[in-house]
Symmetry: C2
Subunit: 141 residues, 2 copies
């Protein structure tokens, strides 16, 4: 179970909403994991231009406003892939079989069409939307 | 890299289009894997009601016509999950933190909305569509 994506969103909500800078250790306590896992995650998020380190004060800050930070950008940053990808095609189909010869190009274009549906949805959904949803839940308590 | 989904589509094209029943060994040669991997895959596809064994003759046949067999049904069968699921939520968020307390329900509903975009797309895409696409590619050669 790969939960880097959900752990990254959790981390970004903390970074966005906390009044004081949060360290990897403090984030790990809230996410329910260890600090080294969070450090790998924040390294990916920094590399992807999502967060930056706060000079001098420690902790992190968002490099993109929550309103402009899409789930798509977060997902791509934590996956560390150039392009959005949900489904992989098996690596060694047999060229000697007519199906094996054509399966890679056929499935690559098929998966692209399906993945476009989800990437379009993820490009319209922002961190601000997730935070709003959480605030509404908290108010209902 | 989980390629059960693409390997399953490859397997189902072979089962659908082959004039003679294909064994797990023959399917494995085309997919470029080993027969035990294919046997696990065909066991999931049988369990999901996608294929059936051909009594007496060996091999498999489709239990659903290619026109009615959606990528959604194939994906759910090979994942062996009750519901369509692309993104998992981390298991142990800290209830003592307000974000940790609400993250599971907020992300579950957020992911559901995003997953619905892709599951809707996968419900309209059939094995027959993939086979048509392959036939067009073969004709172009």
């Amino acid at each position: 179970m790969d939960t880097r994506f959900s752990s990254a969103i959790h981390t970004l909500i903390l970074i966005s909403e906390s009044e004081t800078p949060m360290t990897s250790e403090q984030i790990a306590v809230s996410v329910g994991t260890n600090a080294s896992y969070i450090r790998k995650l924040t390294a990916s998020l920094k590399k992807g231009g999502i967060i930056s380190s706060r000079q001098g004060v420690g902790g992190f800050s968002l490099a993109i406003a929550p309103n402009d930070l899409t789930l798509y950008a977060i997902y791509c940053a934590v996956q560390e892939r150039d392009k959005f990808n949900l489904f992989d095609v098996h690596a060694n189909p047999n060229d000697g079989c007519v199906v094996g010869k054509h399966i890679t190009s056929v499935l690559t274009s098929t998966f692209y069409e399906v993945e476009k549906a989800v990437s379009d949805a993820m490009k319209t959904y922002t961190l601000a939307n997730v935070i709003d949803k959480m605030k509404k839940e908290i108010e209902k308590e």
